[in-house]
């Protein structure tokens, strides 16, 4: 019985991580095709991707879009959560629902909708429009995470701060935001991760400057190549770094 459960565990983790292991392994393939048999270890493909200006600028674009759109999404989500948690507004239940609603809409639909809207108002496609798209998908997430963590404890501390003479902006900066720091960081890092990996919206809304997932897709169109494995491994490495950063900043604080 015990052996069986270990086997199940191994199978489950294998199912999750085997694709990643294969991807990373064949990024070191000393040959032209990232398929078995494994012919030996080389860092040639990594050298090539780091020398590839288009890939490197796409990587930089991705980082800028991820950090910028997440910052905006977290700020807007925080302000919306504060307003809906602390003030009696007409139809707050509806507003809460409306803000969270995009979570249920597919990225493809959001991307198409934005594409049509930007065409209509004459806004040219660029990294800015990709950023706007990523704010649209991450704002509901940031709102939901931060809203859920606003409890009576912050409410009481905010009242005390006001009683001692703090204005609303002072309450937000000095009391609410620091008390909610763990969930604000969690929302920020999740947003960065989602934006970093996001393909469809970035594909639809970008034009000359593209993000990394779009550039990788461009590379894939010309066939399999260990270079795609190498850049995929770099993406994976950065995602892992984000998760570790999340672990250290957010979950450590809770202890």
């Amino acid at each position: 019985m015990r052996a069986l459960s270990w086997l199940y565990l191994a199978a489950a983790y294998g199912f999750i991580f085997l694709p990643v292991i294969v991807l990373v392994t064949f990024s070191f393939q000393d040959g032209r095709l990232p398929v078995p048999p494994f012919k030996g270890v080389t860092l040639r493909w990594y050298a090539e991707i780091f020398a590839d200006d288009r890939l490197m600028s796409a990587l930089l674009n991705s980082l800028v879009v991820a950090l910028g759109s997440s910052l905006v999404a977290v700020t807007l989500g925080f302000l919306a959560a504060f307003a809906l948690a602390r003030y009696v507004l007409p139809g707050s239940a509806w507003m809460r629902g409306l803000i969270a609603a995009p979570l249920t809409v597919s990225y493809l639909v959001i991307g198409l909708g934005l594409l049509m809207l930007f065409n209509q108002i004459g806004l040219p496609r660029s990294l800015w429009t990709v950023g706007i798209g990523h704010v649209v998908i991450n704002l509901p997430l940031c709102f939901a995470i931060i809203y859920a963590s606003m409890g009576a404890q912050q409410d009481a501390a905010e009242r005390a701060a006001r009683d001692l003479g703090a204005s609303t902006s002072q309450v937000l900066i000095l009391v609410t935001a620091p008390m909610l720091a763990p969930s604000i960081f969690a929302a920020f890092f999740l947003s960065v991760t989602f934006s970093w990996d996001e393909f469809i919206i970035a594909f639809l809304l970008a034009r000359f400057e593209v993000t990394l997932p779009v550039e990788i897709w461009n590379m894939l169109r010309s066939g399999l190549n260990p270079k795609t494995n190498a850049i995929g491994s770099v993406v994976f490495l950065i995602s892992i770094a984000l998760v570790i950063a999340l672990e250290f900043t957010v979950f450590r604080r809770r202890k």
């Binding site: 501390a157 009242r159 005390a160 701060a161 009683d163 001692l164 003479g165 703090a166 002072q170 720091a181």
Partner: protein
């Protein structure tokens, strides 16, 4: 600085429910007033109105004579000590205490000095660098007090400040609160449902029930000569006996009691006056049970007017099953319309 604080004809409605009905109250400058009543009586609502967290539906709030009804808490010269203390968990104790000074734009040097003085006043002189989670409940309560007092409010409002503490600590802290209030001379308005706490601490007790003030006065007066039967019942244990008055005396199951009241009335006698003797004889009773409470014994009596209770000193406790005479002094017997 300290000021009187007052409400005039304040009514507070919440969705058709009247939490306060036409309440007027003045607390004098430097006075320690305690709002006492059961939960739901409106005492916390009244405190929120005094602090500016609620605007009354009708009526006026005055601080030192000027109308502050529409002044928000941040601009009002009162501070509140909240029930759960509401300390800022991400700040040190010194930063917590100095917060109000920081909001007033006072320089960091002076803030540090004043915060240290306040922490010393409340008995935590060496703990300025600690965070709130390192403290016990009683210590947090002291920090909350220091934080509210450092800005030198004209009146300090305390919302069940001792409610979260265990009984022993509560009794110790109530003495300390009273001492600090006497030392700094600020007007204190304190909300509680604990009548022992109210009697120990207050210059003036304000008894509230169902959105109205039932009684207001010094603890001794409110205890010994309550204005209403509710006030009598809430300020400690009391025996209530049904009776009928004819204008010169009241007839009860225990005999006649002098009173000018007419019609159906309730006669109220504190348990410590039942067996102590006096000029008004109340017949005899059978002792059913004697329970020991340390400083006194509580005696259950079977009388012609039903079951009543008496408190006597343990040395004078009667034997179970014996018959004892009941009597009280005229001034110890209160008669209320029923």
């Amino acid at each position: 600085m300290t000021s009187s604080i007052a409400v005039e004809n304040v009514t507070m409605c919440f969705d058709g429910f009247d939490a306060l009905r036409d309440v007027s109250l003045e607390v004098g400058s430097g006075e320690y007033a305690v709002l006492l009543g059961p939960s739901g009586c409106g005492k916390s609502t009244l405190l929120s109105i005094l602090g500016g967290f609620l605007a009354p539906t009708k009526g006026v709030v005055r601080l030192g004579g000027s109308d502050v009804t529409r002044v928000p808490p941040a601009k009002r010269a009162t501070t509140t000590m909240f029930q759960d203390y509401a300390l800022f968990p991400h700040m040190t104790l010194a930063e917590n205490v100095a917060f109000g000074l920081r909001m007033r734009g006072i320089s960091a040097d002076i803030r540090r000095k004043r915060a240290a003085e306040m922490l010393a006043l409340v008995g935590l002189p060496d703990d300025g660098a600690k965070k709130p989670h390192e403290l016990s409940g009683g210590q947090r309560q002291r920090v909350a007090l220091a934080r509210a007092l450092v800005v030198e409010p004209e009146a300090l409002l305390l919302d069940e400040p001792l409610g979260a503490l265990d009984l022993k600590l509560r009794r110790a802290m109530q003495d300390e609160l009273k001492q600090i209030q006497q030392r700094i001379g600020t007007t204190f308005v304190h909300v509680t449902h604990d009548q022992e706490e109210a009697m120990a601490i207050a210059d003036t007790i304000v008894v509230m029930n169902a959105g109205q003030i039932e009684d207001r006065g010094a603890p001794e007066r409110v205890y010994n000569a309550p204005a209403t039967s509710f006030s009598a019942g809430f300020m400690g244990e009391i025996n209530m006996i049904e009776g009928t008055g004819d204008g010169s005396q009241v007839s009860t199951g225990l005999g006649h009691v002098p009173s000018t009241m007419t019609g159906n009335v309730q006669v109220a006698i504190r348990p410590e006056h039942m067996l102590a003797g006096g000029d008004v004889s109340l017949g005899h009773a059978t002792v059913e049970e004697v329970a020991f409470f340390g400083t006194f014994c509580r005696v259950r009596l079977n009388t012609d007017a039903g079951t009543l209770f008496a408190h006597v000193s343990p040395a004078e406790a009667p034997e179970t099953g014996t018959k004892v005479p009941l009597a009280a002094q005229t001034h110890q017997i209160k008669v209320f319309p029923s």
